[in-house]
Amino acid sequence: MLSVESLASQMAAAEPWPENASLYQLPTDDQILLSDAASCLAVQTFLKMCNLPVLVVFRSSAESMSPSGKVPFIHAGNHVVSELGPIVQFVRAKGHSLSESLNEQEKAEMKAYMELVNNSLLTAELYILWCDKNVSSLISRPRYGSPFPFPLDTILARQKQREIVRRMKAVGWAEKTREQVHDEVDQSCRALSQRLGNHKYFFGSPTELDALVFGHLYSLLTTDIPGYSIPEIIRNYPNLTNFCKNIDTHFFLQSNTSKV
């Protein structure tokens, strides 16, 4: 197992970053949902921070095309890599890294905070989208099934919902109430805010943690979900909203839709 991985990373390291690397994600207008939008934005931000050019391709079947079933994924040369963690490792194998200057303790902290975001913010997003009856029937299921003809749209949307609900049950989130979800998000935001303090980035210079936090916070701030007041929770921590504004203006020149 280890030798296959090291061989793969050696092969990845052998070639430089290709000119025609592409990032595949779901169409933003009518299909993508909050959790996938956050992950896609995080990866896009990370690649921008590394100054690696990438072409964004929208495909309705991006989720099925992905090697792990999750969006986004990048196609660089002969390699197809999905999700932020493996993409960071892949990019590191090619010689670009944002966290090389950190010492061991800081690296540990960065990993911990990234897991915090995955553990609470991402899980909260999935809960809101698929475990809440109102949101799932009004927003999630119609959007998820939009590229397919009847009756496939209903079948696939319900299949996805069943799978996510089972996952929520497995990690103990299925029985949570709306208030408990708000509490979880509040606690994570408080922790992120306390860690960020008055700095521009979490560790002095931009790292993958900044990309991940920005991806999720920006998506949560700019998405209106009926019945949930997540943007207000985030706005209680003004250093987090400033953090988002800062990254938005610095890395995304077309920030005209910034509703932060």
């Binding site: 079933g69 990993k111 911990a112 994570s188 860690r195």
Partner: protein, 247 residues
């Protein structure tokens, strides 16, 4: 984690000596442990066939009555397997062997990170224990002390001396009666004695929680208490040692 939150709301704050940044670190590292270490612990105890059959099933079976010991361990094992599938991934994208390899890789990385974070200090944040020390201890102690048969993760942990010392320190500090016992010995009698002590300990804890709960109900001034008191899971008082930090 629910119990920790409940206790915090009640005003029990072991973290009053921490700065804001350190408090945030507590939350982050707890999430790290839950995402990266907990799946491997669950796997070692519940899914690894040798450990499950030789150790866990008899332990739980002994403390549950008949007929619960016939199917409750099995149900718990299925719950654990489904949780592990969702934590890393499952067929058709990833095979079971790869899932297991990934889980243990994550756990080893997590142990290394915890060891780096602790460094040469006594506790994670200065000279007083904090919530993070409790969380780390709760996860590592069963791994260190249980007489496991499938032992790769245990060996990795034993190779990190500062974490082992931290565990012993926490044991001395918080459970002085238990620390009188030696290290893990594979004899059956020693196992049973350990189990007895741990069960007593867990019962003491749950009695404490019930007492606090009782006090709460007597006062019942602050909001949300009715809800939080229901979050104490009932099975903690009937089962033996749980590797999870309370769900």
């Amino acid at each position: 984690m629910e119990i920790i939150r409940f206790l915090r709301r009640m005003g029990y704050k072991p973290d009053s000596h921490l700065s804001a940044k350190q408090e945030a670190d507590v939350v982050a590292f707890s999430a790290l442990i839950e995402q990266m270490l907990l799946p491997a612990l669950l796997h070692t105890f519940w899914v690894d066939p040798q450990n499950y059959v030789e150790l866990i099933r008899p332990w739980y079976g002994a403390s549950m009555g008949f007929p619960y010991n016939l199917f409750l361990p099995y149900l718990n094992r299925r719950k654990v397997i489904s949780r592990l599938e969702f934590s890393v991934g499952r067929l058709p994208f990833i095979t079971i062997k790869e899932t297991e390899a990934q889980i243990y890789r994550n756990a080893r990385e997590c142990l290394n990170l915890l060891s780096h974070q602790l460094g040469k200090q006594d506790y994670y944040f200065g000279n007083l224990p904090s919530t993070l020390d409790a969380v780390v201890f709760a996860h590592l102690a069963p791994l260190l002390r249980a007489p496991l048969l499938g032992r790769t993760l245990q060996l990795h942990l034993k190779a990190l001396p500062n974490l082992c010392r931290h565990c012993s320190r926490m044991l001395d500090c918080c459970f002085p009666t238990l620390s009188a016992e030696g290290g893990s010995r594979p004899e059956r009698e020693q196992m049973d004695a350990n189990l007895q002590k741990l069960t007593e300990l867990v019962n003491k804890e749950s009695n404490l929680i019930e007492k606090m709960d009782g006090n709460l109900r007597a006062n019942s001034k602050s909001s949300g208490q009715g809800k939080s008191s229901q979050q104490v899971p009932p099975d903690i008082s009937t089962n033996g040692p749980t590797p999870t930090a309370g769900h």
